[in-house]
């Protein structure tokens, strides 16, 4: 029992450390990749090859003055980035990032919790993140921030439904909502991206929306709303939003890999955990690539895109899958 608790604590610490490191280097990766797409170099001066850039950025953020605008709602203003950060970090608790390993006679599954409704939990937690944005935008007492917050709400209601529907097919095919179970089902049936190609694409689109990245970066829309919902945030609190955004990206990549690309599965010459991370990095690369290539949607266009295109398609495909799985077809 004690051993299990110790293992759990170690796992939590490890996960947070990996995620924070992952955040820092995802950010660097993104900046270098954007440089690559844009014929530039990107950060390469701080530390060898720019490798210490994220450390410098993080330290600097901590050292920066923490400001609160006059007239802001101080409690909510402080709470909002915490919600965003928490929501982003907690989703990863249910994502298995490797096959269970055997150590000291214990079977340690490489996730922190493995509830049977893992997928639902992941969805629930990740949609909590929008509260951080909405509340932050509202509490800042800044019109740009407020607009950013409002946009975030409009955005979440237009893509969350399609997102939820798009994974229903995966559930039907694997007969479980447990993420480990889904991975194992793919071991038997093959990766789901091919049979579920349309839901996969829909999930990809909505995952970008979930992370508030181009072309769905409306809540922060730099050229329109200055910095959107976090315009007024500085120092650590601003950093927390940043952390949340990037960790969200890692998380969504993890979900995509788990749901559609067989999680940690892969040829055995590399350990499963490495396969998992390779796949996640590829997914992140795609995220950055999309950011470099596409312009931003407009508010109303996004809503009609979510409601009129994504949702019906996701629904149809879901019905089709259901018919197929149940043997009607």
């Amino acid at each position: 029992m004690i051993l299990e608790i110790v293992v759990l604590v170690v796992k939590i610490l490890l996960l947070v450390a990996i995620l924070m490191g992952g955040f820092a280097y995802t950010m660097l990766l993104e900046r270098r990749l954007l440089g690559f797409f844009q014929l530039r170099l990107g950060p390469n001066r701080v530390g060898p090859g720019g490798m210490l850039q994220p450390i410098a950025d993080a330290l600097k953020m901590m050292l920066k003055e923490d400001m609160m605008p006059a007239g802001a709602d101080s409690f909510v203003y402080r709470l909002a980035p915490v919600i965003a950060g928490f929501a982003a970090l907690s989703v990863d608790a249910v994502i298995p990032f490797g096959a269970p390993i055997h150590l000291l006679g214990l079977t340690i599954s490489l996730d922190i919790a493995n509830p049977s409704i893992g997928l639902l939990l992941a969805f629930a937690l990740s949609s909590l993140g929008v509260y951080g944005i909405v509340l932050g935008g509202w509490a800042s007492q800044n019109k740009y921030s407020l607009l950013g917050g409002i946009r975030a709400t409009a955005q979440i209601i237009s893509y969350e439904l399609a997102m939820g529907l798009s994974v229903m097919g995966v559930l039907l095919m694997s007969h479980t909502a447990n993420l480990e179970g889904i991975v194992l089902a793919q071991k038997a049936q093959g990766w789901f991206w091919l049979p579920q190609i349309v839901p996969f694409l829909i999930f990809m689109v909505t995952a970008i929306a979930e992370t508030n990245r181009t072309p769905f970066d409306l809540p922060e829309a730099e050229s329109e709303l200055v910095a959107g919902y976090h315009t007024e945030y500085s120092g650590m609190r601003f950093a927390l939003y940043y952390v949340a955004e990037y960790i969200n990206m890692i998380t969504q990549s993890g979900l995509i890999v788990t749901l559609f690309f067989g999680g940690w599965l892969g040829p055995s010459f590399l350990p499963p955990i490495i396969w998992y991370f390779i796949k996640v990095i590829i997914a992140i690369f795609v995220f950055v690539w999309i950011r470099a290539t596409l312009p931003r949607f407009r508010y109303d266009k996004l809503m009609s895109f979510g409601w009129k295109i994504l949702l019906p398609i996701a629904f149809l495909y879901f019905v089709g899958t259901a018919a197929f799985v149940s043997g009607v077809l």
């Binding site: 440089g35 990107g42 600097k60 910095a227």
Partner: protein
């Protein structure tokens, strides 16, 4: 150990503790210096060079500084890029105050450092009047290398600075401010020569085609005089007949459909003291007419024609602002360019010293109690629908525009714009400099494509002088002008799609621009403000590998344009953001004096290069693309096609580049070649006279116009026969385009507001002058 040495009082523990502290401190300093996120406060041409610094050739990103934060809360270093006017001062100060500690300031360019060569009534003579500066970068504009160097210097400064000195510096910030005394070089201006007064009130009745018609319809008393000088028709009407005349001009046979410009002129020893000059153009008949009305000093009252010609609204406001004329019946007669500190002073009047600044009020309270609504009243902060100030310091307002929008949710219900944040007094400066010295000022009008402005100016002065430049110079002007147009359109499209959230294409287009920069640099030595054109030709011949360089650009450009095509034209999202947004009808476009790509996108094929060919444009084959809807997408497509057509012109011109002189060899106009100056007394005298006194064109007035990147760029020049222009009024295309903007954005979403302004390509330098 020496006991008397105070250092020895430290114990081992002290030392180790301090080592830890110093280590920690060094780490902190390392972090701060390695992660300088800039907040670009770009207002003018220096911002364009900063864009180059952020782009692929220089890439400020290598220092980790490509994370541009437009929210002052999140930025570490405030980069002041460009001229700061007194009107902008309070904005800059507010932004600085809003930044979180620790913060630094880099001040780029001569203007921000010291006012540069704008020793004028509206320009702050150095930003250290209001905020402390850490690094100054000299240059006008500084080279991108210098900007990178400034970041390295700031990093060094931070790394070397101990805690104590940082604290001291913080405490001493206020002492690092300097007040700049009034510029001593302010000269009083010469009164107009008698000849000019006579010219401007000439009574000879020239037999012009329309004078008889106008006289017939308005009565003999209405028409005072008429002149024809270098093909420009000027009709002086009696003040009482102004409105009737303006109304009449719309009808056949005049068929004027565009009001191009309204200028004020101050003949300060004459009575009536002022002239208000109206420039009309008929896009169907392709002719122009200039109306003049005298206004006396004691009762500076004149009828407003804004009822007849809506475009007159802003032009009249400008005349009121700068000359103090009261326009009777004007819907909204307020200052437009200068700040409110001017009270009842009007700086373009000849008796106003060019360098005399007026005190400005800086905000003292953190949160003001009221704010300005689009209607110009002060309203409480919590009014509904709420008021949103977009700009002047806003990433998409290009530094200097301010849109005061009343928004209901995201929808704009009412809007007004405020301009003048970059009013750096081109016109006043021109009056105090010789024609030659005016060329560098011209470069800085539309600083995205400087060549077009100075070529336009040279053409106008050449018209005044009645000379034409040699063939080779003409063809070179065409080539450089067209490449400048390409460069301007590239930036316009790049920033427009950047505003839509598409980052990458901007960098591709910037590469095209860099290649043209290389060419310009090899010709003139400068990247941006080339000052290469001279009245009568060029300052120097092009380098021997010019043709090759141009060919290389011609070779590289199509691929870059194709990339843009793929990323923008074929992108469904981009199209959905641009199609049907910000449409301007043909009627509105003409009514508000739109020219250039913006007018052509609305379906009017007016292009000075075709309709009034100059510099031998008629020998080259090219087409004028026109749009149908006049929306953002059409403007984009028209610009894309114009770039192709420009390259086509360049391709023809470069293969047919004649040999020969590159300037008009006339002792009264151009300098002699240097070797002759050193060997021969006549040429030495010629050099001396031209440098000291300048070119002296004949007495008269012309309106010289050319097709700049943004549309018709006109210079209305009044010459009194002296070495300095008596008056230059710039007819800038952006001013006309921006006037319609607040009307256009009503009913739009905030996102569309942003998309629209980028597509109009308003450049503050020529908007505010």
């Amino acid at each position: 150990m020496d006991v008397s040495n105070p250092v020895s009082d430290f114990t081992e523990a002290d030392v180790s503790r301090n080592i830890l502290a110093t280590r920690l401190d060094a780490l902190k300093r390392w972090a701060k210096s390695g992660s300088l996120w800039p907040m670009p406060f770009g207002t003018a041409c220096c911002a364009i060079e900063f864009m180059a610094v952020a782009s692929e050739r220089y890439d400020v990103g290598r220092f980790g500084s490509e994370v541009l934060r437009y929210s002052p809360r999140q930025a570490d270093v405030l980069m002041v890029l460009g001229t700061i006017t007194d009107k902008m001062g309070p904005v800059l100060k507010t932004i600085y105050d809003q930044m979180a500690e620790p913060k630094w300031v880099i001040c780029m360019g001569a203007c921000a450092t010291s006012g540069g060569f704008y020793r004028s009534y509206h320009v702050m003579q150095g930003i250290d009047e209001i905020i402390p500066v850490d690094i100054y970068i000299p240059g006008c504009p500084p080279t991108p290398e210098a900007v990178l160097r400034s970041i390295i210097m700031l990093e060094e400064k931070i790394r070397q600075q101990g805690v104590a000195s940082a604290k001291r510096e913080f405490a001493e910030r206020a002492q690092r401010l300097h007040t700049h005394t009034e510029d001593a070089s302010v000269t009083s201006l010469d009164p107009p020569s008698l000849e000019l007064i006579e010219f401007s009130t000439r009574t000879d009745d020239v037999n012009l085609p329309w004078v008889a018609e106008l006289t017939n319809r308005l009565g003999l008393a209405a028409i005072e005089t008429a002149t024809d000088f270098r093909g420009d028709f000027t009709i002086r009407v009696a003040p009482g007949a102004l409105i009737a005349a303006c109304r009449l001009l719309r009808e056949a046979p005049f068929s004027m459909d565009m009001l191009m410009d309204i200028a004020g002129v101050d003949y300060w020893t004459r009575d009536p003291r002022f002239d208000v000059v109206y420039h009309f153009y008929s896009s169907t008949q392709r002719h122009r007419i200039r109306l003049k009305v005298g206004v006396s000093e004691s009762a500076p009252l004149i009828d407003s024609i804004a009822g007849e010609w809506p475009a007159a609204n802003w032009y009249e406001r400008e005349v009121y602002d700068l000359y103090g004329m009261q326009f009777r019946g004007h819907p909204d007669l307020r200052r437009i360019l200068t700040h409110d500190g001017f009270g009842d002073l009007h700086p373009m009047r000849k008796d106003y010293p060019p360098g005399l600044r007026q005190p400005i009020r800086y905000p003292t309270e953190a949160v003001p109690a009221a704010e300005r609504s689009p209607r110009g009243e002060m309203v409480p902060l919590d009014i509904h629908p709420t008021i949103m100030n977009i700009g002047p310091s806003h990433p998409s307002m290009h530094g200097t525009f301010r849109l005061i929008a009343q928004v209901d949710g995201e929808r704009v219900v009412d809007a007004d714009v405020e301009l003048g944040y970059l009013h750096r007094n081109f016109e006043k400066m021109a009056e105090t400099h010789t024609y030659w010295q005016t060329i560098p000022y011209c470069d800085r009008l539309n600083y995205v494509s400087p060549m077009c402005n100075s070529v336009g100016f040279a053409l106008a002065v050449e018209k005044l002088l009645g000379v034409e430049v040699p063939d080779r110079a003409q063809v070179l002007r065409v080539i450089l002008n067209e490449l400048s147009r390409v460069m301007d359109h590239a930036v316009c499209i790049g920033t427009n799609v950047l505003d839509l959230g598409l980052m990458t294409d901007y960098f591709y287009l910037w590469e095209l621009r860099e290649q043209i920069y290389d060419l310009l640099e090899s010709c003139s030595g400068a990247r941006l403000h080339v000052s290469y054109v001279r009245i009568g030709g060029f300052s120097d011949d092009v380098p021997p590998d010019f043709v090759e360089q141009v060919r290389r650009i011609l070779h590289a450009a199509p691929r870059i344009l194709k990339d843009t095509e793929t990323l923008v034209t074929r992108s469904a999202i981009a199209r959905s953001r641009m199609q049907g947004v910000g449409a301007i009808s043909q009627k509105d476009a003409l009514e508000f004096g739109f020219t250039g790509p913006n007018l052509r996108a609305s379906g009017v094929a007016y292009d000075v290069r075709k309709d009034h060919p100059y510099s031998g444009y008629d020998q080259w084959e090219f087409e004028i693309p026109i749009g149908r809807q006049g929306d953002v997408f059409d403007r984009y497509l028209v610009r894309m096609e114009e770039m192709r057509q420009s390259l086509r012109i360049v391709g023809q011109a470069i293969e047919n580049l004649p040999e020969g002189p590159i300037f008009w060899d006339d002792p009264r106009i151009t300098l002699a070649p240097k070797h002759r100056v050193y060997t021969n007394i006549e040429d030495l005298m010629r050099q001396f006279k031209l440098i000291m006194e300048g070119i002296k064109p004949p007495v008269g007035e012309v309106y010289g116009f050319s097709e700049a990147a943004n549309g018709e760029l006109g210079y209305y020049i009044v010459s009194d026969g002296g070495g300095r222009p008596y008056r230059i009024k710039v007819r800038s295309p952006s001013f006309a385009h921006y006037q319609l903007y607040p009307r256009m954005v009503r009913g739009m979403d905030v996102s569309d507001v942003i998309a629209t302004i980028g597509s109009l390509n308003i450049v503050a330098g020529e908007l505010d002058r």
